[in-house]
Symmetry: C2
Subunit: 191 residues, 2 copies
Amino acid sequence: MKRLSDLEMAILGIVWKRAPCTTYAVAREFATSPSSHWRGSAGAVYPAIDRLCRLRLVKQRKGVSLGRPCSLLALTAKGLAQLQKWLTPPLDGAAATITHDPVRTRTFFLAALAPEQQRAFLEDAESQLVAQLPVLEEEVARYRRSGDWFSEQAQKGALHTMIARLAWLREFRAALDQRLNESVSKKERRK
Amino acid sequence: MKRLSDLEMAILGIVWKRAPCTTYAVAREFATSPSSHWRGSAGAVYPAIDRLCRLRLVKQRKGVSLGRPCSLLALTAKGLAQLQKWLTPPLDGAAATITHDPVRTRTFFLAALAPEQQRAFLEDAESQLVAQLPVLEEEVARYRRSGDWFSEQAQKGALHTMIARLAWLREFRAALDQRLNESVSKKERRK
DNA sequence: CCGCTCATGTAACTGGTTACATGATTTA
DNA sequence: TAAATCATGTAACCAGTTACATGAGCGG
């Protein structure tokens, strides 16, 4: 069987957790998550669920949600096995590499800016990330309240990462300031 | 003008740093980077450079590399302006959200495994990430030696993030162990 | 009854991947 | 002389996005 994408696997996981649930609810889970790089667009989720159904990893049955008829999803035994396989070592290599960070990507090229602009970039990135902290904290609290222990731990990971990025940005800014001071005093000495 | 993708912007950045260089060299930069989620495949980079040329952000001239004729790339003034704009606050929202982490994604669904397998997953992830540390450290050292200060700082960010993920995984595992002990002793008490 | 959310899709596009093809030059 | 690396592409494919379309039920 062809390897499933991480989106398909995540859908499998969500269906497993929230079954019975609608495709719409799965899509919304992606759309409302603060982390996910998937937008959970209908154009991705509906076809993916179709594929999972055809592979007999997910089954649909008729049901009602909020009084309206709809189709309710649940994993099959085969689907659960697939989900477990995804979580069983060894992790495929792609999973364990360094993560992608658009802020970091940009910093590689900061030398293209004037020093004041370099500092402005770091400050802006910092304040944008700081603004995310309460969102993530609330998400952790939400999972804690819901009693979903693993999601709570996972979300704590997101928070940890965010804090680490912030610490790095601050260190970066401090190093930049020091660097600028040094180059200024060098010029002073030359006078 | 249509918004450029992050890959196109990163290409712009690389060309700016390494000009004059060949398209092949740009592609290899992506391919050899330990971080990048872009594979830097020819099928992506060559067409992207074509687009950047047509937009007059990059210009090509004939040259030689290692004795062979090739086309050498460099940014135009317009290209540099575009690069600087990419680095100028405010960062577009997408850049400042929580990053995607395939290990973290999986941990949301760890409850689908038996406790021993949960622990095995965390241990495997941990050891795979640990194996990346020396690679990243070497990369930082490489940039330090090359005198590319900003890339060095950026790569330190990758290292920081990796260390944070590791700390989180260890915390996770400790919490899991504690949790298991508690549930065991609860059973003991019931006896 | 108007707008909102629930619910289910589809069509066109896009930005990447894989895999292939070609040929020159260098190194073992 | 064979294999590796430099260099430049192309064609087929694929997964996910945007934008649209539709309709039912619910709250003001």
